[in-house]
Chain length 260, copies 2
């Protein structure tokens, strides 16, 4: 474990959980003081200044980013790897560190795909301007992608045979698994309820994370923002259709998606 | 720098560059012996066995993955961070290591968006089954996303004022910048030719990487596969329309894509 940092500034869009929530959960679990800068008076101006590259170091491409002294770190998984090293949110051996980042990046891919169910065409347009392709993409996401990703997390837990995704030792990847399960359950309650019986270990991790004292205190606080339809996980009933909402096709149209 | 590993097994779909190419470039630059297992006789069966979780350690969600002794590491950026540490493909200080991973993850987001131009709805369908939304997504990608991502790389180079993305020191992020510029130039030649004058520093990095002796030797070898329409960067002229191919909308329809 590297030196323990005693204060952070977190920069993320105010009013939503978004990708920033993965960082908030890690900061809360680490019990390290932080300021959620954009939620403070004048904070948005500071964030936009750093986004324009007016700070020292590498300018972030997008929020979330974390400031630790002179170091500014962006990209959610990168921030979590940093916090993991500095605050014992992952065991201090190479296999554990690489394993946690591997799981985190796989969860990040799932989050990006969840986002694209409501924005399959253009992030610069509203959902309402891309509802038809959104319904098609969401159908494929619900049918194929959620089961594949969450099934991978479940089988990882099964193979490790432990309490947490990396086995005996808790890591930030468990916090992120909690968040993605919560987000998908908010956005796709029908789809998720059908999967419940196939994900017993993953749902126990979700419950164990929620019961960790610092996480429980955070979830009960005003710092935890509610899910909403301005966020990455959005509940649009039209995208959570239980069946029959998919693109019609014959067996011959499958390519296996091998370039993914 | 950690211990230098003397041999790797790389696992990736044979026949395409894909995400595996970012790893191949790093292995070639590091001049460490590796076997591209799925391209050898019987190699696909070995890869599929590891994907099913029959190996030791964490099963990968998808290729590429790298085997180093008993350690199996998946997720492109995670593999590159590992190779960076073990083979001096990034300077050995925290800011450089976090900076390289930050750039790599931003490039990974760009690659995922490039993929989704030909698969905006369903990775399990062919491009031909989603051509209309593909044209719409590609129009937005060409108009907004390529300039935003590559403009960020250009401004990073400008602010650092150095030869490479992290300034004075070469890193694996430079290899990945080379690859993404090459891929986008193959897939979207019209769009990229319009951007050339705005990206002088980035194109010089591309040229400098191509001229590095080990990379030049690799690019001239049979190990370097050609780009193709089975790959992540695909040249479909319909997706590279110079103008007028976008979704029509009024000024009021912009949300700014803040959840991205």
């Amino acid at each position: 474990m590297l030196s323990r940092v005693t204060h952070y500034d977190l920069f993320y869009w105010p009013g939503i959980q978004g990708r920033g929530e993965f960082v908030r959960l890690a900061l809360e679990e680490a019990a390290v003081p932080y300021v959620d800068v954009a939620r403070t008076r004048g904070g948005m101006a500071v964030m936009m200044k750093l986004l324009r590259g007016d700070g020292a170091g590498l300018a972030p491409f997008a929020p979330p980013f974390l400031r630790s002294g002179r170091l500014v770190i962006a990209q959610t998984a990168n921030i979590l790897a940093y916090l993991g090293d500095h605050h014992a949110l992952v065991a201090d051996d190479e296999a554990s560190r690489a394993g946690a980042l591997q799981i985190q990046l796989t969860i990040a891919d799932l989050v990006a795909e969840a986002h694209d169910t409501h924005h399959p065409i253009d992030t610069g347009l509203y959902y309402e301007d891309q509802k038809r392709p959104a319904a098609q993409r969401a159908a494929a996401f619900v049918r194929s992608r959620i089961p594949k990703y969450l099934g991978w997390l479940e089988s990882t837990l099964e193979r490790r045979g432990g309490t947490w995704l990396l086995g005996r030792h808790f890591s930030y990847a468990d916090l992120s698994a909690f968040q993605v399960v919560e987000g998908l359950t908010y956005a796709f309650p029908n789809a998720m309820s059908r999967l419940t019986r196939r994900l017993p270990r993953l749902l126990r991790v979700r419950d164990r994370v929620a019961a960790r004292p610092r996480i429980a205190a955070y979830l009960a606080s005003e710092r935890r923002l509610p899910f909403s339809e301005d966020d990455v996980f959005r509940h649009y009933p039209a995208l959570d259709a239980p069946r029959g909402g998919g693109v019609k096709r014959g067996a011959s149209t499958w390519s296996g998606g091998h370039a993914r």
